[in-house]
């Protein structure tokens, strides 16, 4: 399976720039070998999806990239920076934000405070204010609820908030961990539309999903993860037509 290798910028064909590179990643939880030599990459401007069953290791990979778990070995670079040599709390400041599994909004803070926390690593108060307004435009449901405690939001609203919070970091790249989890089909549509919109605004996306059908429709490339290893990879369209993938992840 092949990869698209160029895109048009101002009429000039340019080679894609690698943004995130993960190589030979090995992660253990005590004796449990969760990630067994995973390698993948994401280019600037792309939407890449990582699909796989429960317990395949998708969250673990995102946690390793964001510095929440320490891999035993392997390499992770973001825009040329060695993330394994970067302190976890400094990774967001490099332009890599995560929308974690289960939203993890700060439930005892207001919507506004949650969004402010997203910009914690930033110092440019004018830019933060602009991004705050912009996030409320992209995610209008949050606007009338900005003084409400995040814990009182519905699941869908919390997902929006978690995404908005990550956007407040002014990321070059967004890691999304199962943003469609537990949401109604209509809301899932809305979330996916928003992801496409964010990507169109210039943010590179790495999307982890169990909803393989929608993820493969949205992404340009995909990796299929099975028990800690990359089992298949390629263009999302081709994987969506692949018999094995159809049987295992697309319900026949």
């Amino acid at each position: 399976m092949t990869r698209g290798s160029s895109r048009l910028i101002w009429g000039v064909t340019r080679l894609k720039k690698k943004m995130l590179e993960v190589s030979d990643l090995q992660v253990y939880y005590g004796a449990i070998h969760a990630i067994k030599g995973v390698r993948f990459e994401v280019d600037e401007g792309e939407i890449v999806t990582l699909i796989g069953a429960n317990g395949a290791g998708k969250t673990t990979i995102l946690h390793a990239v964001s510095g929440l778990v320490r891999p035993r070995s392997g390499g992770i670079t973001f825009c040329g920076q060695d993330l394994l040599a970067t302190k976890p709390h400094q990774i967001t400041g490099l332009g890599l934000a995560q929308v974690p599994e289960g939203r993890r909004v700060f439930s005892r803070m207001t919507v506004k405070e949650n969004l402010e926390m997203g910009a914690y690593a930033r110092k440019d108060s004018i830019g933060i204010k602009e991004d705050y307004d912009r996030v409320l435009t992209i995610l209008p449901r949050l606007k009338e609820r900005r003084r409400q405690l995040a814990g009182t939001l519905s699941g869908g609203e919390q997902q929006m908030l978690s995404m908005g919070r990550a956007l407040m970091a002014q990321p070059k790249m967004l890691l999304l961990d199962e943003p469609s989890m537990g949401l109604s089909p209509l809301l899932v549509q809305e979330i996916f539309r928003t992801i496409r919109e964010i990507n169109a605004g210039g943010v590179t996306i790495l999307l982890v999903e169990q909803n393989a059908k929608m993820a493969l429709e949205l992404a340009s490339r995909a990796y299929v993860l099975e028990t800690g290893k990359v089992a298949m990879q390629g263009a999302a369209k081709e994987l969506a037509d692949n018999e094995e993938v159809k049987k295992a992840y697309l319900g026949g």
Binding site: S66, L68, P100, F106, M109, M117
Partner: protein
Amino acid sequence: MYYVTQILNGLGSGSIYALVALGYSMVYGVVKLINFAHGDIIMVGGYTIFVLLGMNAPLWLAVAGSIGFCAVAGVVIERVAYHRLLNNDAPRIALLITAIGVSIFLQNLAQLIFGTNQKPIPKMFTLPAIRVGGMNVSNTLLNIVVALLMMAGLQLLVNTTKIGKAMRATSEDAGAATLMGINTNSVILFTFAVGSALAAVGAVLYSNTYMQIKPMMGGMLGLKAFVAAVFGGIGSIPGAMLGALILGLAESLSVVLGQSAWMDAVVFALLILILLFKPAGLLGQHMKEKV
């Protein structure tokens, strides 16, 4: 009038409990650690005042020195005793035992340096006398005012400042806080520093009120402050204050009823009652367990 002075007395000693309870509650809120050594910080603060005043330092320096020294002591204790346990997700029981160990260590260290006898503290603040029912209550009022100011300041810190919001975020979800770019290790150190500084303020009031200190003074006091924090809802700042004031009042009530021998029993009966009927405490939130 007798009752009014007793109520004021209760609120006065409750205020000292409050300053210790606030630190208990803050540290618990951020790292879910019951820092049993926290009561002994008030003793460390007391001896710092004793030493500084003994060296003829001016009063302001003794007060500031005590607050500064306790803040540093809190940070050192976190680094040396708890840091590795917290970072490695050690079981709560290991942390608890370590905290008790630190407490015993501090008490014994003080005995070693200063002896087991109590030490007198010279008169600290000369306040204009305010008489209620023939009793001068100006020191009691000072305790209450200082404790309320400290609580208000802490509320302001936690709710409006950047580091305060980082504390709340870390308290709720340290992993998510890290994703925001918060250095949770520094937040934890800051929390220990502020909590210990508040205990030092408690030490100042204690020394001024009782005019003597001893190595074991933090034991029962710390335990009562802990009870107050749980009673009010551990993790809640106004809760710690409220719990401590109620506790002080309950103590003075047992004095009024001529049952001062039962004072400590009343305190712990109160704790058991509240835990039976309101496990989260008066102003506490039910913590959602994270999966």
